[in-house]
């Protein structure tokens, strides 16, 4: 490796990317709020104050008050946990249902692969909002119920990315050598393939978390899964929308919170990708028609 190339790789190292640190810091704050938000909220997020309606950001209410005089900062802090937890619920479901078959399908033969791909295709025809609302109609109106279908619909994204990445590595000569040496399929997957596929899974997980967070915000915005006084990011946005003529600035606060968190997750995905060159599933110069290059972060960009 020449000196120039090594300095280049050092510059691209994850820990030296400023966007990685900014994104990580933002996400750390969000994670902190998810754990301690309701305990640390400066005021009771449900306390109604008829004397202080639609106040702008000020010393007493840092982010102002809403149409019932409730403190917006406290409501946002208290609402973080539900939004983050249910987004993670969907991502974990998607990861388990998508990534495991995605790796396995390469080793299980053509029929399983065909069937798994058709299931993924079928799921991709169901827009998540419709599916999520329909499931709450069937199972009952709660946010964990609503995020179950979102997780199922995230699975095809995980499936395609891991399948494509696994296909790429499963045909490598060292895998062939391991198989010739008599290594079992499980060992080949565990030792040789999984480690190579993990960066792709990491990138996809970050962008899928962004997608799931958008989904939570949108579903709570629609009033799915929460009882009115309980604060959620989307719910705050939706009540602000009803009082635009009194407080036109109000929706920008929860809107910015959602956009910054989603932006941080996308930046994290990009940082992972740049570092590991994961995501370039179809390397330039050797197009492979059998590898479907479906980029995980396409979903997060186009959600809602």
């Amino acid at each position: 490796m020449t000196g120039r190339a090594s300095s280049r790789s050092r510059r691209r190292s994850l820990l030296r990317t400023p966007s990685f640190w900014i994104a990580a810091a933002i996400l750390a704050i969000v994670a902190f709020l998810a754990v301690f938000g309701s305990a640390l909220a400066p005021q009771n997020p449900l306390a109604i104050n008829a004397g202080a309606l639609f106040q702008g950001p000020g010393a007493h209410h840092l982010l102002g008050t809403d149409y019932l005089g409730r403190d917006v900062l406290s409501r946002l802090m208290a609402g973080t946990r539900l939004s983050v937890l249910t987004a993670l619920e969907a991502v974990v479901i998607g990861l388990v249902l998508g990534a495991i078959p995605g790796v396995a399908t390469v080793f299980l033969g053509r029929w399983f692969d065909f069937a798994a791909n058709r299931v993924a295709d079928a799921l991709m025809t169901l827009p998540y909002v419709f599916f999520a609302v329909a499931v709450t109609a069937a199972l009952g109106n709660s946010l964990p119920h609503a995020m179950l279908p979102v997780g199922i619909l995230l699975a095809p994204g995980f499936f395609r990315v891991t399948r494509a990445a696994t296909l790429e590595h499963a045909r490598a000569q060292y895998v062939e050598a391991a198989e010739l040496l008599g290594a079992s399929k499980l060992r080949v997957i565990r030792v040789h393939v999984l480690r190579k596929v993990l960066p792709n899974i990491a990138v996809t997980t970050a962008s899928m978390t962004a997608a799931a967070l958008l989904a939570v915000s949108f579903l709570t915005f629609l009033g799915i899964g929460v009882q009115p006084p309980a604060p959620t990011w989307g719910g705050i946005l939706s009540s602000d929308l009803d009082y635009l003529s009194q407080a036109p600035w109000a929706p920008f606060i929860p809107g910015a919170l959602i956009a910054i968190t989603v932006g941080a997750l996308n930046a994290l995905a990009d940082a992972f990708r740049d570092r590991s060159s994961a995501g370039t599933l179809m390397p330039v110069g050797q197009p492979d028609p059998s590898v479907e290059s479906v980029d995980g972060d396409r979903q997060s960009q186009s959600v809602a």
Partner: protein
């Protein structure tokens, strides 16, 4: 951002066979359409089955719901179950539902007894107007931005487009919609904040009501199209045949439109196809922000009352829509690549 690279021959999975006479090219498109249809059949059955089994998943008892608490004696429930066909196994119920659906009969609402197909066809024009206008806006905005950014690569416009695309990709459609309401309705008083007028009543009024929702819906797709078109156009413009065309002295505009854009448009079209289902989801967002009487409102209302036939009908219509759009996009892309896919 990684992008799907489809600009190279073979990138779409088309056979890189030697050049074929013109007649055979048409056949390749037909074969692709046929192959697409063959793959579609299992997808259609699977997605409709998922849709139908939602009803079975629910612990609701339709007969008891319809009859009301007082009249729901076990005998009456059993009689109504038989009338509704609910005493059959799930697969039989599904088949009956699907064959009826093919004939345009999606059943009746449990509560209002209004045929589901009728309520859907009443609401569909709202979402269709928003979605179609949004696609037109996205192609116009995203296409222009992508082409200009690629032609003036590295300039201030290019950097501006890249930045705007990143910013837009973090903003969900409903937030964009709210920003537009604040800007154009509350602050500038230029356009109505909510409501809807059908195009049969007054076309200018109709446009006035759907322009903001469509714009909110189109920004994300515009950004995707701009990004994809810029990438593939930059690559195509660097190819030898473009240089060749320049050397032959063809006017630049003609090279750009007939040589470069035709080959670079495929990936952007694919993006449009991928984004379309999300646009329908976004249409629900736009409906919610602008209080439009569309499919999303129908879905929310029927989900609240757990009116399963309406919910199932809506999902069926939406997923069929997505499948058809994907097929059209794939066929169009195959047609676009009819020469290049066979080697040039």
């Amino acid at each position: 951002m990684a992008v799907i690279d489809l600009t190279r021959p073979g990138g779409l999975g088309a056979d890189p066979a030697p050049a074929a006479p013109r007649r055979r090219r048409g056949r390749v498109v037909l074969a692709r359409l046929g192959g697409g249809l063959a793959v579609l059949v299992p997808i259609v059955f699977l997605s409709t089955f998922i849709t139908y089994s939602l009803g079975a998943l629910s612990n609701s008892n339709p007969a008891a719901t319809i009859l009301g608490q007082d009249a729901a004696t076990p005998a009456a429930v059993a009689r109504l179950d038989r009338a509704l066909g609910l005493d059959h196994p799930l697969v039989v119920q599904y088949w009956n539902w699907l064959t009826q659906a093919v004939h345009g009969n999606l059943g009746r609402s449990w509560f209002t007894q209004i045929p589901v197909a009728q309520s859907i066809s009443q609401r569909l024009p709202v979402d269709l107007s928003i979605a179609v206008l949004a696609v037109i806006l996205a192609v116009a905005i995203g296409g222009t931005a992508g082409v200009v950014a690629a032609v003036r690569r590295g300039g201030w416009f290019d950097r501006g487009v890249t930045m705007a695309c990143s910013a837009v990709s973090t903003l969900p459609a409903f937030v964009v919609g709210i920003i537009l309401v604040v800007l154009f309705a509350v602050t500038l008083h230029l356009l109505p904040a909510n409501g809807y007028v059908g195009p049969t009543t007054s076309v200018p009024e109709w446009l006035k009501y759907i322009i903001l929702p469509s714009l909110a819906l189109s920004l994300q797709v515009s950004a995707d199209i701009a990004r994809q078109l810029r990438t593939s156009l930059v690559e195509v413009l660097g190819q030898n045949y473009i240089v060749g065309a320049k050397v032959r002295g063809l006017p630049y505009r003609r090279i750009l439109v007939r040589h470069a854009l035709r080959n670079a448009a495929g990936p952007a079209l694919v993006i449009l196809g991928i984004d379309f289902p999300q646009m329908l989801a976004g249409a629900v967002a736009a409906e919610a922000v602008f209080s439009l009487p569309g499919l999303g409102q129908l879905l929310l209302e029927s989900a609240q009352t757990r009116d399963i036939p309406v919910v199932q009908g809506l999902l069926l219509v939406i997923s069929t829509f997505v499948i058809v759009v994907n097929l059209v996009v794939n066929t169009t892309v195959a047609w676009l690549y009819r020469t290049d896919g066979l080697g040039s």
